[in-house]
């Protein structure tokens, strides 16, 4: 009798285990995702300045949608706009909207889209042709307008009089604690179908190291990871998603006119560029996870970055330094919340010292925002710029916007129809060595083994359309 009972128990367990294995192999609705973000987000509005717009856009991308989106090949695909067509030499574009509704269940239409886009680009002439079609007339030809419209800043947002902003995305805002916590709930009426998880819980300002110390890593489903933390995770056999080396670290000399700053001798800037050993930074500090950067856009995206020199020439740096004569030490600021930035900034200072250039580094928490940069008392800043798009034009336009390049440069970017034009634009932007690309590094994400279908584009952008969590129901 006892043997029979034991046999029955074993069979029951085997059946339960096999059914569980079958169940984990297909998507399931329900469950709550918990994602740890390293940076704090103070606003979800894409038009509000942020210390870390990339993190903001990751959350906002789940609530607010753009008319188009860029796929992993860099091509524009339909999103809220189901179709589009260019007329009159790429200056007039006609878009057709799909059937979708904002989170307050109001239908999206041409008028709401026009209102949203006008707040971003006032110089566009937007005409509603019908409920579902509208025309965008740009001042000049913009052959890559659909790709540009995939940028987060062109997200379609309904702005209510009380300041509430609504999107059409798969998730709606359920809870919001500035800089601490965001809870997004699944949008049951989403035009693309309800997402699998019931909610996504974003915890901001936390690091994997802290959770490892607290021994509650298993409670999380995804965590942003710094490159300095990759090695132990990999050694431990953890799942880590790495993007292509997309984020650009570059030294940006701040505009002397924005604040009473001294102008740095161009020869000194060039000397600094020649002194930086980008290969060592990549090989040692980034453990070969990144790539030396010579241009603004990555080689793997454009294929032309090799045209911009990225190798160290210490002798040339010393000559230029000597030509520049007496110079005060340069001050270089960096984002103190990112250990990699600190290491790279210090290495830049070490390399510069070899060329006779004294560089003093210091960390600052708000160095990524424009207002933070304006308030900085530094000659230069080490910036981490995400690759905003897998389309070169849109990506360059996004970089130009973030770097506050002159309006004619931005205009030339959006008008460019050939890669050669973008090369020249990039070359001219780098010519005076106010922008010194240093290195590219990938975005890294630790994933719990119970998370499935987490998709990441080469530039680190998240695609969570098919995301589901194991063992949710």
């Amino acid at each position: 009798m006892r043997r029979t009972l034991l046999l029955l128990a074993v069979i029951t367990n085997l059946l339960a285990a096999s059914s569980a294995c079958l169940a984990e192999s297909r998507p399931r609705y329900g469950g709550s995702m918990r994602i740890l973000l390293r940076h704090k987000v103070t606003s979800l509005d894409p038009l509000v300045e942020s210390d870390d717009p990339a993190t903001r856009d990751r959350i906002a991308g789940l609530m607010f949608e753009t008319l188009t989106q860029i796929d992993s090949e860099g091509h524009a695909r339909a999103k809220l706009a189901s179709a589009w067509q260019a007329e009159a030499g790429n200056r007039v574009w006609v878009f057709t909207l799909r059937q979708a509704s904002f989170h307050d269940h109001s239908e999206i239409n041409s008028a709401s889209v026009a209102a949203s886009l006008r707040s971003v680009s006032p110089d566009w002439k937007i005409t509603a042709n019908s409920q579902q079609t509208f025309t965008i007339e740009t001042p000049g030809p913009e052959p890559h307008l659909p790709e540009l419209l995939a940028l987060p800043r062109y997200a379609i947002i309904k702005r209510l009089p009380d300041g509430v902003i609504l999107g059409t995305g798969p998730y709606t805002l359920a809870e919001w604690q500035t800089g601490e916590h965001v809870l997004l709930a699944a949008n049951d009426d989403y035009w693309g179908g309800r997402p699998f998880p019931d909610s996504i819980d974003f915890r901001m300002g936390l690091s994997l190291r802290e959770h490892l110390l607290e021994r509650n890593l298993t409670l999380d489903h995804a965590t942003e990871v710094g490159l300095d933390q990759l090695r132990p995770l990999e050694q431990a056999g953890q799942t880590v998603l790495l993007s292509r080396p997309a984020d650009l670290l570059l030294v940006c000399f701040l505009d002397p006119g924005a604040k009473p700053r001294r102008a740095v001798d161009p020869r000194l800037r060039e000397a600094l560029s020649s002194a930086i050993n980008r290969a060592t930074i990549n090989n040692v500090l980034l453990q070969r996870k990144g790539a030396p950067a010579g241009g603004l856009l990555p080689q793997w995206l454009t294929g032309w970055e090799f045209l911009f020199p990225a190798s160290q020439d210490i002798e040339r740096a010393r000559r230029l330094r000597a030509d520049a004569g007496t110079a005060q030490p340069l001050s270089l600021a960096y984002d103190s919340s990112d250990p990699v930035m600190k290491m790279v900034a210090e290495r830049v200072a070490v390399d510069a010292r070899e060329a006779g250039i004294l560089v003093q580094t210091f960390g600052d928490l708000h160095s990524n925002s424009k207002s933070g940069q304006a308030a900085l008392n530094a000659d230069a800043i080490l910036l981490r710029l995400t690759l905003g798009s897998l389309d070169a034009t849109a990506a360059l336009a996004e970089l130009a916007d973030e770097l506050a390049l002159p309006a004619d440069t931005v205009s030339a970017i959006v008008k460019a129809s050939h890669p050669e034009e973008l090369v020249e634009i990039e070359r001219s932007a780098l010519a005076d060595y106010r922008l010194i690309p240093v290195v590219r590094l990938p975005q890294a994400l630790w994933l719990n083994s119970n998370v499935h279908e987490w998709q990441q584009l080469p530039n680190g952008e998240w695609r969570l359309d098919q995301l589901w969590v194991e063992g949710s129901r």
Binding site: T280, V284, L285, Q287, V344, E346, R347, A349, V350, T361
Partner: protein, 596 residues
């Protein structure tokens, strides 16, 4: 200066010098004691520092040894020696440094290239220059060395260990910042310590106390001291005066801290404030000043009392002596004081008594002598007329024996002679009577020059008598009015003129001079006669003394009496065969009451 004043000054000076000497002695002893204490405190602090220094060095050595001996490190070195990519080990040192609480930990390749740096990972691939530049063998003991960091140069205590990997030497350089040693020191009150870090290139800096805190050193005034230590590699000390509103002094000991290959990368500065000593010295000085002041005041009071006891009899003696000088011989001082002063007073009293007795005896003898002289003069004066009277009377007795006619003639002549001699006797008696009846002068404002001129005019006829005329010369200056009786003064001058004429039987020159002094007028009469001997001059004013054949010896005595009654003085000076000069000094007419 009075004896009392001298005594007071002497006592005060003695007290001040004594207190000053004692103060100096106390200050010197205090100074010596403080310096001794200061030396002991400094030695104790330096000893404590060395202990902490050694302790820190032992901990660093232990930590670096532990890292060098760890399996992971040995494996890392072996992998590197086998050609592993050094980039893989860029973060290797950080964990070891944290575990061993090391501020610095560098893993160096055999050629000095930094493989991994805990404090400055960004320096990967560069060579550790100070390590390569040293020609000296690698020390096994901890040493001081300036380390480059991202913030600049920092003074550190380092320890180097060599790890062998397939015949190649890899180096592990670990250490801590030296400024961690100073907070471990428990500096007693008044002491402060800091380390001056002197990198090979670049400006030095002071480690230890927070800048601008009370325990921090101001670098500039200490630079000569520090430079001396750095150049001579030996300890030294100096007293430094810090500026500010209240300057303060401090003894600063500079102790060389040895580094790698005999270098001195830092100097330990131990400051010992002299505030307490200076305050105590000031206090001693103030108290000494107070004691000196009180002592001097007390000394003055006591010495005034004592000096009074001592000097009063002396002053009494001086006053008594002065009174004796003024002619008052009836003086007696208090001889009750004890000791030498009492003996002096007794001797003085005895002396005055003896002098008084001798003077009385002298007066008595002079009186007898005067009487004898008077008797002799009287006898002489009376004998002269008496002899003719005796002869005349004897002639008359003899004439009775001759004829009546002849007798009458003799009688007539004899009576005439008798009458003449009797008249002569009357004259003599009248003169003596006049001397005894000298009238008191009636003082009034008198013009001395006019009196002299009147006398000269009176005697003008006698001066021009033949055959031996006397020349007179007047040298009269402006003389203020004198307090005198003109009649008596005129008689005195007339007497002097007569004497002078008698003194020049062969004729000569008489010179009349008048002049004024501060309080008197002087009349001088000079003749060119035979002059007088000093003995004659001395006795000239004695009554009844005369050098003339027919003088009574009363003229000059009367003159002296008159002048004396005028509160004046008369004197004579003479040189034999050159002449004689009489000097008369009369008081000026200023305050008649003073003559009364």
């Amino acid at each position: 200066m009075l004896l009392r004043t001298r005594l007071l000054l002497l006592v005060s000076l003695s007290i001040a010098v004594s207190v000053g000497a004692v103060t100096w002695l106390i200050e010197a002893r205090t100074h010596e004691s403080f310096r001794q204490t200061e030396e002991e405190r400094t030695n104790a602090l330096v000893s404590q520092f060395r202990h902490e220094f050694d302790h820190e060095g032992e901990e660093i050595t232990r930590g670096v040894d532990a890292v060098a001996a760890s399996e992971n490190m040995l494996r890392t070195v072996l992998e590197l020696a086998n050609g592993a990519d050094p980039a893989t080990y860029v973060s290797e040192s950080a964990g070891y440094a944290t575990a061993q609480r090391l501020d610095f930990l560098d893993l160096l390749a055999p050629d000095g290239t930094i493989i991994s740096s805990a404090h400055w990972p960004a320096r990967f691939g560069y060579k550790q220059r100070w390590f390569l530049d040293q020609s000296a063998p690698i020390p096994q003991q901890p040493f001081l060395q300036h380390i480059e960091t991202s913030e600049g140069s920092t003074l550190a205590m380092l320890c180097v260990r060599t790890i062998q990997g397939h015949g190649n030497s890899y180096y592990l350089v670990g250490g801590r910042k030296l400024d961690a040693v100073l907070p471990a020191l428990s500096t007693p009150s008044g002491l402060r310590a800091s380390i001056y870090s002197s990198p090979g290139n670049g400006a030095g800096e002071m480690l230890g106390a927070e800048k601008d805190s009370k325990d921090s050193f101001d670098t500039a005034p200490l630079m000569p001291l520090v430079q001396k230590v750095l150049s001579q590699h030996s300890d030294t000390s100096s007293t430094v005066t810090w500026g500010g509103s209240q300057p303060r002094q401090e003894i600063v000991h500079a102790i060389a801290l040895p580094g790698y290959a005999g270098q001195v990368p830092a100097v330990l500065l131990v400051g010992n404030s002299l505030e307490q000593e200076v305050a105590l010295e000031h206090r001693i000085r103030d108290i000494s000043l107070l004691i000196a002041s009180v002592s001097v005041i007390l000394g003055i009071i006591v010495s005034a009392f004592v000096a009074g006891r001592i000097s009063q009899p002396v002053q009494d003696l001086a006053a008594a002596t002065e009174r004796i000088g003024q002619g008052n011989w009836d003086v007696h001082v208090d001889a009750s004081a004890s000791g030498e002063i009492g003996k002096l007073a007794s001797a003085f009293n005895h002396m005055t008594q003896e002098l008084t007795a001798q003077r009385e005896r002298l007066v008595q003898s002079e009186r007898v002598a005067a009487w004898r002289e008077l008797a002799r003069r009287l006898a002489h004066e009376l004998k002269n007329p008496l002899f003719p009277l005796q002869i005349t009377v004897e002639n008359l007795l003899r004439a009775r024996q001759i004829g009546p006619q002849e007798f009458d003639e003799v009688f007539r002549e004899s009576t005439s002679t008798l009458l003449a001699e009797i008249a002569n006797l009357k004259t003599i008696i009248g003169r003596f009577s006049d001397f005894s009846k000298m009238p008191a002068p009636e003082l009034q404002s008198a013009d001395l020059n006019s009196i002299v001129s009147g006398v000269v005019q009176l005697f003008q006829g006698q001066f021009s008598r033949e055959p031996v005329p006397v020349r007179s010369e007047l040298r009269l200056e402006n003389v203020p009015p004198v307090a005198a009786d003109p009649v008596l003064i005129r008689r005195v001058i007339e007497n002097l003129v007569l004497n002078a004429i008698d003194a020049m039987p062969q004729g000569g020159k008489l010179t009349f001079r008048t002049r004024a002094t501060e309080k008197s007028a002087v009349f001088e009469l000079s003749d060119t006669g035979a002059g007088l001997t000093p003995e004659e001059c001395e006795r000239l004013f004695t009554p009844y003394y005369t050098t003339k054949q027919h003088g009574t010896g009363l003229g000059l005595a009367i003159a002296q009496s008159v002048i004396s009654d005028h509160h004046g003085a008369i004197s004579v000076s003479s040189k034999k065969n050159e002449g004689t000069t009489f000097h008369i000094e009369l008081p000026l007419w200023e305050n008649p009451a003073s003559f009364s």
